[in-house]
């Protein structure tokens, strides 16, 4: 007996039955769907689900915020890290991502002060503890993480923490999906939508998917039952031709999201064009600090200007992020590009598709597939 209702969402018994039901519904018909969120990519692979649901094929999309950070932006941050008196505070994942200027980890090994923090507020605390350093937070993330950074920005200004600033590399999901699907949704039959982004922006934010693209989409949580339940809903909707946005994570997602979080984002940031790895420049898809928060804008303080740069030769992260190819189809996969020696972000980010496939999908076709 679970001690609280939320534990029931990882009940393996119900999970196995939902899986059986999903396979029943899928039958023999190959279907292509996409999971947008990197956390979903990992959850699906870790549970061994990807191969269990065939012929339903789940492809990963541009849902890993570290992976979609463009090389030019990361290279600019790495160059900043090499500046005297600057301490770069970063979420763990960015540390080893390669860029045309090297990685933050390489910069650190060469003497730069790079610290891993778990939250934007931890970055602010670091600045308050080390007043002699210029602490710059590499603020990467989607709408789930941006409110935390917004709060850190607001507090920094309120408390006059003048040695704190951030490089806002935040990105927004709906415009990216818009850009992804605009050329045509191809064979895609459904989308699994990010549960925690939706917690902030609300399920209503995705209604354009059915309106403009006639695509069924399901907001899903991250427990195995959540993913299976959402896939069942998507398969039913796809087969019946009922495009709509289905909220399958109602315990956490409201149609309007979290108004307080959205207001905070509105107050601190404004949308601006942003360059996405794989997608190029997407209008209104990034968040930049508003004028009132220019005091904590590292781009301004340090005159950061990203230079056009090319990804590593042979790296096909861009296509992986668009779901055009799956990781094993990249010639570098496991062959010059591994988590220990990555050529691109998808292999090194803990939510990158290539890393998920490398860790969880290699050798997966093993003991007894169906049953």
């Amino acid at each position: 007996m679970p001690s609280n209702i939320f534990e029931a969402f990882s009940d393996p018994q119900l999970g196995r039955r939902l899986l059986a039901h999903l396979r029943e519904l899928v039958g023999d018909e190959p279907m292509l769907m996409m999971e947008v969120c990197g956390t979903h990519t990992v959850a699906v692979s870790r549970a061994g689900l990807r191969s269990l649901i065939r012929p339903l094929e789940l492809r990963s999309g541009p849902g890993c915020p570290v992976c979609v950070t463009d090389d030019s932006d990361l290279a600019a941050v790495v160059r900043l890290a090499k500046t005297e008196r600057v301490t770069v505070a970063t979420y763990g994942d960015m540390l080893r991502v390669p860029s045309s200027a090297g990685s933050l980890a390489e910069a650190r090994a060469a003497g730069a002060d790079v610290r891993v923090v778990y939250s934007a507020l931890e970055g602010l605390k670091l600045a308050q503890q080390r007043r002699e350093r210029e602490v710059v937070l590499v603020a990467v993330g989607f709408e789930t993480t941006a409110p935390g950074a917004a709060l850190a920005a607001r507090r920094a200004v309120e408390r006059g923490v003048s040695n704190f600033s951030m490089v806002s590399l935040h990105k927004l999901i709906p415009p990216a999906l818009q850009a992804l699907l605009s050329p045509g949704r191809a064979a895609l039959r459904g989308l699994l939508l990010p549960g925690h982004v939706s917690t902030v922006i609300g399920s209503r934010a995705f209604e354009f998917l059915s309106r403009e693209f006639a695509l069924p989409a399901a907001v899903a949580g991250f427990e195995p039952l959540d993913i299976l339940g959402a896939l069942i809903t998507l398969v039913r909707a796809a087969k019946a031709g009922h495009p709509a946005v289905y909220n399958c994570y109602r315990r956490a997602v409201r149609p309007q999201g979290n108004p307080r979080a959205r207001a905070l984002l509105e107050e601190v940031f404004r949308p601006a064009p942003a360059r996405w790895r794989g997608l190029g420049v997407v209008p209104d898809s990034g968040l930049v600090l508003r004028e009132e928060y220019s005091a904590v804008d590292a781009a301004r303080r340090f005159g950061i200007v990203p230079e056009e740069s090319m990804p590593a030769p042979g790296c096909r992260c861009g296509e992986v992020l668009l779901g055009r190819i799956i990781p094993p189809e990249c010639p570098l996969f496991g062959n010059g590009c591994t988590p220990g020696a990555p050529r691109g972000p998808c292999m090194v980010s803990s939510e990158g598709s290539c890393q998920a496939y490398y860790r969880y999908e290699r050798g997966g076709e093993l003991v007894g597939r169906r049953g």
């Binding site: 899986l19 870790r46 191969s51 778990y118 997966g364 003991v367 007894g368």
Partner: protein, 335 residues
């Protein structure tokens, strides 16, 4: 004790002797050590010596469930026990940072002494050096250990064969999670999360009674259970199949692992044993382990199959995925 470690303490002369007498010998009470000579002469029971060495750089120095002192004793003792040896002697070498509080050094040394007594191992030789502020984070300890293997003991992965069972003596990943939580000061107030830092000599001794059914033992430290199993599978040239639902985990460790996005399979334990044994021996070993307080959660987590060195995990949903060696930057300064 008041004050801090100074560079003078590393002079090799009067100040060093003072430090040794007032801190180290106060707790580490061994006749060989007391002679303060460069080497120790000891009596050894017979042929077949087991040797090991480990450096300890854990941060923070003190964490719930242990500290760098007891960790440096148990870590080395446990390596000896895994080969089926009786741990007999330890040496310890300290690199102290100028500015380390003597009160902290005392606590660590006292903890080491207590650990040696708990296991019944003698710490017979040591060394201390002092480096300038900033050159060592508090202190680093390296311990070396010597043990004696009774004749006829043959524990190695090559003996693993299909049908053997995979046993763990208790919950996995506790130490790794506890150290990370302490480093990031995640928990406040009364925390139930603690490292499992402790000796496995009784667990190893209990398992050894069931040789030759017992094939090999390992302690799942850095890299966790998954890494140890991968090493065994490759050396044993077989496949190991593990059931996710059979893995014993501590609810506190699991909760923090989830909060931090970590996988307990790859996190260190510092007081647990993994054993591979033929089925009847396996049952007997589990029974014997469960009699010990440190073996209450002992479980069979899988079995050995014909294969080529893969570790396969059967997930709760019925899927199977392969466990690989973790690559990339490991979690720093866990041991």
């Amino acid at each position: 004790m008041e004050g801090v470690v100074s560079l003078a303490h590393g002079d090799g002369g009067l100040a060093t002797r003072e430090l040794l007498r007032e801190v180290f010998l106060k707790y580490l009470d061994d006749p060989a050590l007391r002679r303060l000579e460069d080497s120790a002469r000891v009596d050894f029971p017979g042929p077949c010596l087991v040797l090991t060495t480990d450096a300890f750089v854990v941060s923070p120095l003190f964490f719930p469930g242990g500290d760098i002192g007891c960790l440096s004793v148990y870590g080395t003792v446990n390596d000896l026990c895994c080969l089926g040896a009786d741990p007999l002697f330890l040496t310890a070498s300290f690199v102290l940072e100028e500015g380390l509080r003597l009160a902290d050094l005392e606590r660590i040394v006292a903890s080491m002494a207590q650990a040696t007594r708990r296991v019944g191992v003698r710490l017979v030789a040591g060394d201390t050096k002092v480096v300038p502020r900033g050159m060592a984070d508090g202190l680093y300890v390296t311990t070396s250990g010597v043990g004696h293997i009774p004749p006829g003991t043959d524990l190695r992965p090559e003996r693993i064969s299909p049908g053997d069972r995979i046993l763990v003596s208790g919950t996995i990943g506790d130490h790794g999670v506890a150290v990370l939580a302490a480093r990031h000061r995640l928990l406040e107030g009364e925390a139930t999360l603690a490292s499992d830092c402790g000796p496995v000599h009784r667990l190893a001794g209990a398992a050894r009674r069931f040789a030759p059914g017992l094939k090999v033992m390992r302690d799942p430290t850095r890299g966790g259970l998954a890494t140890v199993l991968k090493e065994l599978a490759e050396a044993g040239r077989c496949d190991l199949l593990v059931e996710e639902e059979a893995l014993p985990t501590d609810p506190a460790a699991a909760a923090v692992a989830e909060l931090l996005g970590l996988d307990l399979l790859y996190l260190a334990s510092e007081g647990k044993l993994v054993a591979v044994a033929a089925p009847e021996a396996a049952d007997a070993i589990l029974q014997a382990w469960r009699q010990l307080p440190e073996g209450q959660r002992a479980s069979c987590v899988g079995e050995v199959r014909e294969g080529s060195g893969r570790v396969l995990l059967k997930t709760a949903l019925g899927g199977t995925r392969e466990l690989h060696l973790v690559t990339g930057e490991p979690l720093p300064r866990i041991c």
